[in-house]
Subunit: 312 residues, 2 copies
Amino acid sequence: MTVLILTCHQDVTTDMVVAKLHERGVPLVRLDPADLPGEAGLSAEYVSGDFHCYLSADGRMVSSKSLRSIWVRRPGEPAAHAPEPSRWLSAETGQALYGALCSTTARWMNHPRQADQARLKPWQLRFAHRSGFAVPPTVITTFPRVAEQFAGQYGKVVVKSLSGPPRGEPAIALPTALVEPGTDFAGVGGGPTLLQRYVPKRADIRLTCVGGRMFAARKVSASGQVDGRYGDTGHAWEPAVVPDRIARAVHDYTGLAGLAYAAFDFAEDAEDVWWFLECNQGGQFGFVELETGQPIAEAVASWLAQEPRGPA
Amino acid sequence: MTVLILTCHQDVTTDMVVAKLHERGVPLVRLDPADLPGEAGLSAEYVSGDFHCYLSADGRMVSSKSLRSIWVRRPGEPAAHAPEPSRWLSAETGQALYGALCSTTARWMNHPRQADQARLKPWQLRFAHRSGFAVPPTVITTFPRVAEQFAGQYGKVVVKSLSGPPRGEPAIALPTALVEPGTDFAGVGGGPTLLQRYVPKRADIRLTCVGGRMFAARKVSASGQVDGRYGDTGHAWEPAVVPDRIARAVHDYTGLAGLAYAAFDFAEDAEDVWWFLECNQGGQFGFVELETGQPIAEAVASWLAQEPRGPA
């Protein structure tokens, strides 16, 4: 039984997991959907009620029946490397690939449907609260007056993107930023804006959950730093113990969301409360593993290596 | 309790349902996501565990708590009518709108997650078979030789798009077409191609399922016509009786797919077999209702008018 990894070519995090799968002797195929069709090929047949699908990639041919698991790591846009790429060709190719893969019995980390839901930040905030996390007061609005009132009520607020940085070249970073006092909120009318009460934090927490196994890491904040993902704080990521209350909430959240993999970001305040900031269903873990030595790649490999469930 | 209809401005089918909702005295708001932000506005607040969201559209303000149902009819791309539209603004706006709506307790026709899955044609073929429909032998492939063998084996085959016509102006129709004998299949390497055994048909069948209620319509085919959706056959759509076997399969398929609304296309052959061609989760019904007099708009309105379930 083979593990299918959907990711782009330069992906060091995948290399870490691939090494662990090789150690276990688990066969795997690495496929960038951008190479389909071209470097990679696909055939799915529906004849007399039988479904048979095979993929060619990585110089190998693999039957969908022999897929034990599918890791959606960092896949390229389908058909992006075609000689004449177009949105329509990407749509056709994406339908063919993901449609065929969704018809298999393989286990997903994460299933595209669950991933789509889990990406929605308003959904995250709502279900984080329901799962028992502490969530800072937040507003998402297109009304300048609502933004103004919210900022007035909470004093220090941050603004962040809902959907992450814009795609494209050159890559743009969009760090979470403090809203300056006296800000003019008229621009809120031009695009939905997410404002959140600022959490004065002692440390950033990254908790990675892999099929129920949790790895928490903590990095002491530099004073005045708002977004711990960018810039150097002079401190390193260190392993942290997961409080019981957080473990229960992570368990509930990943269950509700149907996620085999999830990377949670928290802000730890002076009272040791871990405030839920976001849950990235496809978040990086390489940097944490390198600094803490936590065996996250091993946990991913171990999850992917399990045999599939019965017929879907 | 209000019905929310997500659709573009020119949409006669929506007008038919709106008229029925008005007759029942059910309040409704019509919103084109393309008008957000601008004509329409949104605010979602997450404070002390409470979630409160309101939408302004259509000159009205509606709270998400008062939404009984959401009909995803033919929504525009979020923020498409903004003064400076961009893919990023659309992503941010789509996250805000659908993220907030997915956190409500409203009933969906159809939920975006279920709709995404149901659009995947390979998924359709697989689950149509599992639900008990007769499905013509089909192949989706990027390998010219596989296409050639398939065509050789079945003699008469048709080719169709996986994802529908390309978006954009001018609108392009992509009718299902017969593959000519001696076709060169080299082009299959350039994009995944769907080939299906041709079903010599006596009639086209359109079956519309609305929350379990089924409306079947039948149109006698013009001789030699391949795609009944385009062109005049000289025959009109007429109401048809749904065979028990088909009713059971429709019930199972819509259950598996989680669809409150679904439009099935079948080809009826000389032995009265209804061959599953596709299931469009957002398929039109206006043309069927106009020709057959079947009360489909009334069924949609009736489903939308039901009170929501308990808290999600």
